[in-house]
């Protein structure tokens, strides 16, 4: 087997795909949350902080009550609170969402590191009760479905959430109002529905979904571990997914899968290329994607102009 074949076979292995699902899940959850705020016309770059809070309070709940489910519950409660706080500042008091997002990220780093040192005495903790994994012996024998084995329950939960979010956004009146609150708030107001209320709902949903993403990261993917700044810019990757997917939850999931794929490749290719270099790929792709989206939009506009 040549060196090239070896590399290729390690890229397209079950392990890679399994890893892809694993790393895509937190990003996907956050990206679905980000889709909500994006539809409501809020540019939410505070998702990284929201994930970090979810990760920390998930572990804290799991540590305090000795069960991972309590951790998830605590993360969700914090997610609601963070979402409420975000909406209070951005929607009610009309602060600049960019400033609040930036500050929220730093605030989350400060708060979680401070509390981690206060509760655990160190900058991180591990070995807390984690979420169960799905282990089915028969799945391992089926060729393709093998990648779905040995995954945290959140991986499957995310599928349900993706579908639910897609139906919510595109098939329910609430979703319709949500999209209108961002695109045509005045029209929505004329119809007798408060755009602000939809923005509040979007913020809370985003807070909860990001908190779930964080809880999955700390309780599922890393089985009960918290480390300082462990969200590690995933919130920004999720944001990139939102932009790429034009806030469509289903497309955002696919974008997240792509990011997961590149992260997984980086881990596989460590022997050949420095992982520092492969780590940059998703970020560069995001920029290229954004340029691509813009260029395509402009081309479409030009084509439409020529037709008329």
């Amino acid at each position: 087997m040549s060196e090239f074949e070896k590399i290729m076979s390690s890229i397209f292995s079950y392990g890679t795909l399994q890893q892809m699902l694993r790393s895509a899940t937190p990003v996907a959850l956050a990206a679905i949350g980000g889709s909500m705020t994006e539809h409501a016309g809020i540019m939410n770059i505070g998702m990284d902080g929201m994930i970090l809070m979810g990760a920390f309070f998930g572990v804290l709940g799991s540590f305090l009550f000795h069960t991972a489910l309590a951790g998830v519950g605590m993360a969700i409660v914090m997610g609601v609170l963070v979402g409420l706080f975000f909406a209070l500042l951005v929607v009610r008091y009309k602060s600049d969402e960019f400033i609040i997002g930036c500050a929220l990220n730093t605030f989350a780093i400060g708060l979680t590191s401070y509390l981690s040192r206060s509760y655990f005495g160190t900058s991180g903790t591990k070995g807390n009760p984690a979420l169960p994994m799905l282990r089915l012996a028969f799945l391992d024998k089926i060729p393709v479905l093998r990648i779905f084995n040995n995954q945290s329950l959140f991986v499957y939960l995310t599928w349900i959430i993706v579908i639910a979010a897609w139906i919510f956004v595109y098939k329910t009146p609430y979703g319709f109002w949500l999209r209108a609150s961002g695109e045509k708030p005045d029209t929505l107001r004329t119809a007798g529905i408060s755009p602000k209320r939809m923005k509040w709902i979007a913020s809370i949903l985003c807070g909860v979904l990001c908190a779930l993403a964080g809880a999955h990261l700390s309780l599922g993917q890393l089985s009960g571990t918290f480390a300082e700044n462990m969200s590690n810019s995933r919130g920004f990757i999720a944001f990139a997914c939102v932009i790429f997917a034009a806030a469509n939850p289903a497309k955002a999931y696919i974008a997240a899968l792509m990011f997961g794929f590149f992260e997984a490749i980086g881990l596989r290719l460590q022997g050949y290329v420095s992982s520092d270099l492969t780590n940059t790929i998703p970020y560069i792709i995001t920029i290229v994607m954004m340029v691509w989206v813009v260029v395509r939009k402009q081309a479409k506009k030009r084509a439409a102009k020529q037709e008329t």
Partner: protein, 367 residues
């Protein structure tokens, strides 16, 4: 957000800082620490010795230049969130120039290193600038992405091609020759002669932004780009130039850190320093003078927070206080508005009771 600095601003700033310390006190109490001891330790940490005062000044320099870099971008309507990456790139390029030219005179090495930092970081900042102007790609996202890319690239260089021969350093470049170090001003502290260079840069930025036609045109570009375009300004070029200068300033900060205090490149040359500078700039409402003054204040907080560890309090409380100040500052105008709307409503309701026909056009919509 680009409001004037006036008494109202000062009052709201002081109130915000006071409230932020109050929030900090509540968190300290909640985790079983005495706020008075903690804040006392903070003051002591910042002023107890000349060494600490030197550190305060050095950190204030970093914050101020980073904050001014952010001011410069926001003045023309572009947010440079990528200063962190530009700083790292500038730092590693400057460090490597110093290492590879080892042996030549400092008169050649230092200007070349500064030039290298300016050019590399400036070019790196040009990418998001050009994308923003030519394609309207959101610069906030591109700069954030480029931050991580820069951090990884620097890590790669410091671990691989430019790695120091010293085995104990995992990712760092070779140490700079002592001849190239900036002279320390206070023994033991990080403060070096770089602060004079920084002062000149800060003055130039303030002068250009506040006192020249260029500065006025920049303001116009940021506040009313259509008008600026129609009055014949080349706003695209202005935005790109400001972005490049902003990046170059961040790169220089990186060089100052390497030549002034670290004497080699390692990833901890900057610990999200740019983001802290950015927040200072936000609190200062992107006004250069206020940015510089607030940098001093937050540098005191940051260096003081190191003293907290001696009384057993995690020093991250500093980040909490700083961000809570921003939350209050960002919310206050909206909060006051809500309050005045409510007051007016009450007044209108009172008038209604009297005349029965008071206009109620200002009623805030229900949330």
């Amino acid at each position: 957000m680009r409001q004037k600095i006036n008494t109202k601003y000062l009052i709201s700033l002081l109130v915000s800082i006071f409230l932020a310390f109050l929030v900090g006190a509540v968190i300290l109490l909640g985790t079983g620490h005495s706020p008075l001891t903690a804040y006392g330790a903070m003051v002591e940490g910042a002023f107890s010795s000349l060494r600490h005062v030197g550190d305060v000044l050095e950190y204030a320099m970093v914050l101020a230049i980073c904050g001014l870099a952010c001011d410069l971008g926001s003045r023309v309507g572009i947010f440079n969130v990528g200063g962190e990456g530009q700083l790292l790139i500038g730092a590693i390029v400057a460090a490597q120039i110093g290492v590879s030219l080892n042996g030549t005179t400092a008169w050649l090495v230092i200007p070349l290193a500064a030039l290298g930092a300016i050019v590399s970081a400036g070019l790196y900042a040009m990418i998001p600038g050009v994308l923003k102007v030519k394609l309207k790609v959101n610069e906030v996202i591109t700069t954030i992405m480029l931050n991580t890319v820069a951090a990884s690239l620097c890590q790669f260089m410091a671990k691989g091609p430019w790695k120091s021969a010293n085995k104990t350093m995992v990712s760092a470049t070779e140490n700079l020759n002592v001849r190239y170090w900036f002279d320390g001003l206070i023994p033991g502290s990080n403060l070096s002669t770089a602060i004079f260079a920084a002062a000149i840069i800060a003055f130039l930025v303030w002068y250009i932004m506040q006192k020249t036609t260029q500065g006025f045109e920049m303001k116009l570009t940021g506040q009313n780009p259509r008008f600026a375009r129609f009055s014949g300004m080349r706003i695209d070029r202005k935005i790109i130039v400001c972005m490049v200068i902003s990046g170059a300033m961040c790169g220089l900060v990186g060089m100052f850190r390497v030549y002034g205090s670290e004497h080699l490149f390692k990833p901890s040359v900057s610990n999200d320093y740019y983001f802290e500078g950015l927040m200072v700039a936000m609190i200062a409402r992107y006004q250069p003078l206020a940015t510089i003054l607030l940098s001093l204040f937050f540098a005191v907080l940051k260096v003081g927070a190191e003293g907290l560890q001696q009384v057993g309090v995690p020093n991250q409380i500093y980040l909490i206080i700083q961000t809570v100040v921003i939350f209050f500052m960002a919310a206050q105008s909206g909060f006051l508005e809500c309050l005045s709307v409510r007051l007016q409503k009450r007044k209108a309701a009172g008038a209604d009771a009297h005349s029965g026909s008071a206009p109620r056009e200002k009623g805030g919509e229900k949330v």
